[in-house]
Amino acid sequence: MNLIDLGVVINTLWIGLIYSLMAIPLTISYKVTRVLNFAHTSLVTVGAYVAVILSLVYPDFFSNVFVALIAAFFAGAIVAILNHKFVYRKLMDKEASPVILMIASLGSWIFLKYLIYSVISIVSKVIKKDLYFAVPAFRYTLNLNFLGISNPSLTYSLILGISLIVLTFVVFYRTSFGKAMRAVSDNPQLAQISGISDESVMTLTWFLCGGLAAISGVFWAMFSYASPEFADSLILQVFAACVIGGISSIALTILGGFVIAGAENILMSILYNLIGLDLSFRPFLSFLTLLIVILVRPPAGAAGGLPYRLKFKRERKWT
């Protein structure tokens, strides 16, 4: 029996890419600002809907993917920066702990989510179009055949996504801004002393992360659809990808994205064909993978909670 189809492999590639693309800004923003940002989902949704609404309302101008992507980038960046200025910055000034920041991000997530709902319902009434499972109008105008994959939006986002990831790497590891970000993430006090402005680096980080998150939302809308809830149902997988990367390394985060995608697709396919595991176990597999990864080989930064060894292990070794 054929265990894996080509379609499964392509899905793994594509979904792994989108997970990575969504997880990278989450990792970077956590590294630099120490905020485990739940409002990330809202940024993704904002990006998707900016592209969808603009391309539906001004089809002439926004029929170009790149224009829509840039618009989405700025929208996401602005929301992220506003969120930072009005919530995180103020809390950081009061020396709030990371847990408090996380709960604050939860609060802004709830707020932004229903704000998006409201905006969508108003716009939908004004332009008299269904915006719930909407796809950007330019999805139909793309035309590119790549490696025999006939889905043009998939091809586009694969190419664009990979180049974006490369770009992020370059920004993070090869530019002075990236250096400043890494400095702040390693030691904020030291960075401050050596003349790197904490606040401007954070603002720029949110600009970059918000924009990237929004772009990943556009890709998702191109490939699948945009709804106010889609990012919420993705977020746990995206977090899992980050955690496998230890929420520290970009390369490992990308690996994490592909590991989760592989578990959901390739592993699912194998188990399905071998033992007839129900397809409804797909999310089960991604969490199982996460647990196994955490327990068997803890990612960087996750291990070393305590210098403590369990009894049964110790006795086998030393007694």
Binding site: A104, Y117, L306
Partner: protein, 369 residues
């Protein structure tokens, strides 16, 4: 408006959520275990209570329907009303056992605490919760996605629904009080001191001879057990449960309650639970007042909830009732006092009261004289 009904239903849910927030406070506030899988243990308790009470009723009446079937739901409607003592007994039995079942699950889940650092514990327990939920969705004996319905209410024999709900509210309040008192006892004892020391610096506590993993596991046992009790209460209150109630967002809601009220303060946990459950409920008033807004009033409701969380954190990042490091029992000793007995405390209080009464009288006497 039915004020009594509002209060009864609010207080019932408030108590259930308070048990959750107190248990999370024990774990996260006092011991520093970032448990993001609260919903899992809540769900274990709920499903345990539902399965046990349904199968007990079916078995005692010699019926053998599947637990989730239509026949079960219909027969429960009459069976639950027949024997008051039996239903109350089964209720108490399952609530107590739910504590232990969920607690043991929590104890076992604590194994990862040895393997991963505190930052990653949260996501580990969260994934455990999701695994459990997806498993339950696919596990037919407990109804799968049908969930379980017809869970016999302990006071089903009472005819008047208002009285029935009131009785249930009383029971949940009593259970909440027990949980509250127990957690206060814990945190004000030397055990609570060690819990706090683990939160502050677990490596230092380990080097000071504390078996940190064991204590963490015990705290997870207590906390998860409490969550299990809350779950059992929810199952009886709603009369039906399904796996999709126990989603991660429920855990986050409880977290918001604890943070809002103030970490490491049981009163804060109560206040946080009270505020959020009250907001969820009372904001429905907006639906009655504002009908034809351009934005749906429901969205505005939830937006207000989000804003309030953010705003309260901005203005009081440490919570509405912040932790009082000097509140613990040990503080009584520092003044080189013997521990105050209840009798003595009452004497002192009555002395104080007399003193103030006397002062007031004096005041008038002076003015008058």
């Amino acid at each position: 408006m039915d004020v009594v009904g509002f209060l009864v239903s609010w207080i019932t849910l408030f108590s259930i959520y308070s048990i959750l927030s107190i248990s999370l406070n024990l774990e996260a506030g006092y011991t520093g275990i970032s448990n993001f899988g609260k919903a899992a243990f809540y769900g274990i308790g709920a499903f345990f209570a539902a399965v046990i009470s349904l199968s007990a009723f079916l078995m005692l009446n010699g019926l053998s329907y599947p637990l989730y079937s239509l026949e079960t739901i219909i027969s429960m409607g009459t069976l639950s009303k027949q024997n008051p003592i039996l239903s109350i007994l089964i209720f108490l039995f399952t609530v107590v056992l739910a504590f232990f079942v969920s607690g043991i699950a929590g104890y076992m889940v604590s194994y990862p605490t040895l393997r991963v650092g505190p930052a990653f514990l949260g996501i580990t327990v969260l994934s455990f919760g999701e695994l459990l939920r997806i498993f339950l969705r696919n596990f037919q004996p407990t109804g799968g996605t049908y969930g379980l319905a017809g869970i016999p209410h302990p006071f089903a024999f009472i005819q008047d629904p208002a009285v029935k709900d009131f009785m249930f509210m009383l029971v949940t309040l009593v259970i909440l009080a027990i949980m509250y008192i127990f957690s206060e006892k814990f945190v004000n004892s030397p055990y609570g001191r060690i819990m706090k020391s683990i939160r502050e610096d677990e490596i230092a506590s380990l080097c000071l001879g504390k078996d940190v993993p064991k204590i963490k596991a015990q705290v997870l046992f207590i906390g998860s057990g409490m969550a299990g009790v809350a779950g059992a209460l929810l199952a009886y209150y709603m009369g039906s449960i399904n796996p999709d109630i126990f989603v991660p967002s429920l855990t986050f809601e409880v977290w918001a309650m604890v943070i809002l009220g103030g970490l490491a303060n049981n009163k804060g946990a109560l206040l946080g639970a009270g505020i959020i459950t009250f907001l969820n409920r009372a904001s429905v008033i907006l639906n009655f007042t504002f009908q034809n807004l351009p934005i749906d009033v429901n969205y505005i409701r939830w937006m207000i909830v989000g804003l309030l969380i953010v705003a309260s954190l901005l203005f009081k990042p440490e919570g509405l009732i912040p932790e009082d490091p000097k509140s613990s029992f040990i503080w009584n000793f520092v003044e080189e006092k013997e521990p105050i007995s209840l009798k003595k405390r009452m004497e002192e209080t009555s002395k104080k009261v007399k003193f103030y009464i006397k002062k007031v009288f004096d005041w008038f006497a002076m003015g008058g004289g």
